[in-house]
């Protein structure tokens, strides 16, 4: 059938894992492997090219980039990115007093620097992180509230835009993670009462939409407090989102806890470690590493969920943009404005998932 030499050649070709596929081979395998695949590729490519052409034509070639006159946009056939340039301040900063916007810019810089520095493994020791966060929290508080150092006082009801989204998100994660861990431990605890309380709490809150919890935070929570005691609306809402987040996260962490083999507990017990020693030094570090991908998913979901505050009238970036889009002069260009907001969420979501992938790599390589 075949000669010996051709057989040898075939075998080497098939079994050389390091051989790089030639471009033609790659095309043939991935795009033109059969008549049907070729047809599919051609049709998809045609649709895709048309779409890209539309994006280029609308979004770049015929777009208006800068103008303060909406009629210029109306006359153009392309996108009106000028709406973002023109309205970026109310979109990004909401109701916050116009002249004080520089405080929000500074706040975002401090916030982002603090977060980025805290995410680097070489900075992971409490003697550095705790002071860092204290300083950041105090300076952000001073900048946002004002009332000292000659800064004008700004109540939380006037906070808004991207800084508000950041604060809601950070508050949710910082409040929510410890609660989630406690709930997950409670659900796995040998104590029936603790288990019962955790199960009812987790399942009841997971069974209802976030909005109803926000309604509770806004309308019912004040009734829970004794007369004369008041809690700020922004704080109540943050706690509401955080507890909702914690219930979902608790189920994820429970998954991680379940993956820890019994021997780990037994080994800890044989060293006569207490429950909290076992939990904090043996069990949790392993469990959290195991379920890190799922934890990240819920953290990203928490960032998206901050947008629910539009329903109860907090001015986060989405509410602010929706309000700006009520302006009859610029209303027509809502696509551009919402694309911008979507891009902001996509950017932060993508950054978070990239970082999470990096952490997974560090875990796999034993670095952390």
């Amino acid at each position: 059938m075949t000669t010996a030499s051709s057989q040898t050649r075939l075998v080497t070709a098939a079994y050389d894992p390091l051989a790089r596929m030639s471009a033609a081979d790659w095309l043939k395998r991935n795009l033109f492997s059969s008549v049907w695949q070729t047809l599919l590729t051609l049709v998809t490519a045609a649709v895709l090219l048309r779409f890209f052409w539309f994006v280029l034509d609308w979004g770049v070639i015929n777009a208006v980039w800068v103008t303060s006159d909406p009629d210029v946009c109306r006359a153009a056939t392309g996108a009106c990115w000028a709406v973002i340039v023109e309205k970026h301040r109310p979109m990004l900063f909401g109701l916050y007093p116009y002249d004080e916007h520089w405080r929000l810019v500074l706040m975002m810089v401090i916030y982002l620097v603090t977060v980025v520095v805290s995410l680097m493994p070489r900075n992971w020791n409490l003697r550095f992180l705790v002071p860092l966060w204290l300083v950041a929290a105090v300076s952000i508080g001073v900048l946002m509230f004002g009332g000292v150092l000659g800064l004008r006082y700004v109540p939380t009801s006037e906070w808004g835009g991207l800084p508000l989204t950041m604060l809601l998100f950070t508050g949710t994660v910082l409040f929510g993670m410890p609660v989630a861990v406690l709930l997950a431990l409670g659900r796995r605890a040998p104590l029936p009462v603790a288990r019962g309380v955790s199960v009812v709490f987790i399942e009841a809150l997971r069974g209802v939409p976030l909005i109803t919890i926000l309604f509770v935070a806004v309308n019912v929570f004040p009734l829970f407090l004794p007369a004369g005691v008041q809690v700020d609306k922004l704080l109540r809402i943050t706690i509401g989102i955080a507890i909702f987040f914690a219930c979902y996260q608790a189920e994820v962490i429970r998954g991680g806890l379940q993956a820890i083999p019994r021997g780990q507990y037994e080994a800890a017990a044989s060293l006569s470690l207490t429950y909290w020693q076992t939990t904090s030094r043996i069990i949790l570090p392993q469990a959290l590493r195991i379920c890190l991908p799922a934890i990240t998913n819920h953290i990203i979901a928490a960032m998206k969920n901050t947008s629910f505050v539009i329903i109860i009238g907090l001015f986060d970036i989405l509410t602010a943009t929706t309000a700006v889009m009520q302006d009859p002069l610029w209303r027509k260009f809502y696509v551009e404005a919402y694309l911008f907001v979507a891009a902001v969420y996509l950017f932060f979501g993508y950054a978070l998932s990239l970082y999470a992938r990096k952490v997974e790599k560090w875990i796999a390589s034993g670095r952390i």
Binding site: N30, L31, S33, Q37, L40, T41, T44, A45, L48, P190, L191, P192, V193, A194, V197, A204, R206, G207, V208, P209, L210, I211, T212, F215, V216, N219, V220, P222, L223, F224, L225, P226, A227, I300, K304, N305, S307, F308, I310, I311, L318, T322, M325, K332, Y334, V335, Y338, V341, A342, Y345, L346, G349, Y350
Partner: protein
């Protein structure tokens, strides 16, 4: 027990109390009593505050308000409703609207999700990339932003006069989506029953074929008989009723349409937003399900000359469904819960109407309790159904 013996020959009473303090059982009991007491105490404290606060603000308590007249109109209702009806009926209207937009959303999300999920594992590189891009975008943009975006799109659609025509079957305008529907006929009810009967018969036929195969080793292909009975029975009923084929086509008339069926722009926006968002997650679930069947199994099935259709039916699908169904169900539940953002587009769902009721009566606790209970019931019922299904498809182990 063994290491407790030496303790006996010291001072027995002191030792015993110390033993008690360090005994696991005693400590567990103490913790639990403390926790239970804390829960009860906090609960009572909150209850007390609520009662006092409500009294001071002169807000009525209890569910008596449900029988009062609502005095507000609702734009979209599936059942008869007017401002003279009770709050309870208004909430029922809201619940039915929630269920209808969720049902439509689930169907749409499933169709798009499965298509994109299959495209995600396609051999075609280009298609696979596009599907991946779609999933990444719809999953990572907040669902509220998507719904608000589609609401803005529907609001900015042309007026009925310049409505977009959909292949002669309907119109898309700022009044919503208007499409042709068959004129209601008594035959339709019977056709639906015939469809149900057909599906049942096909199921019975399938079971018989399996038993026959297990008993004799002979395979009877039930695909065509099943299709025949599922499609044929309603067809026969339709013919028996004299084949009523009147279809109401919508037409432009003045500032609106006549004929056909119209769904509101709010419904369209909400349905599109929540189902596109869910479709991204469903696509990932479907991909994981398809990838769950090891390649070797398909190759093994092929090597014993099983027909591709049977490979799908007996090798791939049973294993894929086992992986797909549980997360799919929770996606459906979360889609139902996401429909509660209807208030941002003004669609009168349960939460939107509950919110109105809450603002009119001031009875926030009760109104929110009604909403939460309804969603809890939906979640619990769904998870019960899911568990039943899961038992049916789970691996049968000895």
């Amino acid at each position: 027990m063994i290491d407790a013996t030496p303790a006996r020959d010291g001072q027995p009473s002191a030792r015993r109390s110390k033993d008690l303090l360090y005994s696991e059982g005693f400590r567990a009991a103490a913790y639990q009593i403390a926790l239970a007491a804390a829960v009860v105490f906090v609960g009572l404290f909150l209850y007390q505050n609520v009662v006092e606060n409500l009294q001071r603000q002169n807000i009525a308590t209890g569910f008596g308000f449900l029988r009062e007249v609502s005095q507000f109109e609702i734009g979209e209702t599936l059942i008869n409703y007017s401002a003279r009806d009770t709050y309870a009926r208004a909430l029922l209207v809201g619940l039915l609207n929630t269920l209808s937009v969720s049902a439509a959303g689930i169907v749409l999300a499933t169709i798009i999700g499965f298509s994109v999920g299959i495209a995600r594992v396609s051999n075609n590189w280009l298609l696979q990339r596009i599907a991946t891009g779609y999933v990444e975008i719809v999953r990572n943009v907040p669902v509220i932003l998507q719904v608000i975006f589609w609401a803005a799109v529907t609001r900015n659609l042309p007026a009925p006069r310049q409505a977009l025509e959909l292949w002669g079957l309907g119109f898309l305008s700022n009044r919503g989506l208007t499409f042709a529907t068959p004129v209601a006929d008594p035959a339709h009810g019977w056709m639906f029953l015939a469809l149900v009967a057909g599906i049942a018969l096909a199921g019975i036929g399938d079971r018989w074929a399996r038993r026959h195969r297990e008993a004799t080793g002979k395979h009877v292909d039930m695909l065509w008989p099943s299709l025949a009975v599922v499609i044929g029975l309603p067809l026969v009923v339709w013919l028996a009723f004299g084949a009523p084929h009147l279809i109401s086509f919508p037409e432009r008339k003045g500032f609106s349409f006549v004929g056909g069926y119209t769904i509101s722009p709010e419904f369209v926006a909400l349905m599109t937003g929540i189902s596109l968002y869910a479709s991204g997650f469903i696509a990932e679930i479907v991909r994981a399900g398809i990838e769950a069947t090891p390649k070797g199994q398909v190759e093994a099935a092929r090597s014993i000359a099983l027909r591709p259709r049977f490979i799908m039916r007996y090798v791939v699908l049973p294993q894929a469904l086992r992986v797909i169904v549980p997360p799919l169900t929770s996606q459906y539940v979360s889609l139902i819960k996401n429909s509660s953002i209807a208030v941002v587009v003004g669609y009168p769902d349960l939460v939107n109407i509950g919110n109105t009721v809450m603002n009119q009566t001031g009875q926030a606790v009760e109104a929110i309790a009604v909403m939460m209970t309804v969603y809890l019931i939906i979640s619990v019922v769904t998870s019960l159904l899911m568990n039943t299904y899961n038992r049916l498809v789970a691996i049968k182990e000895r």
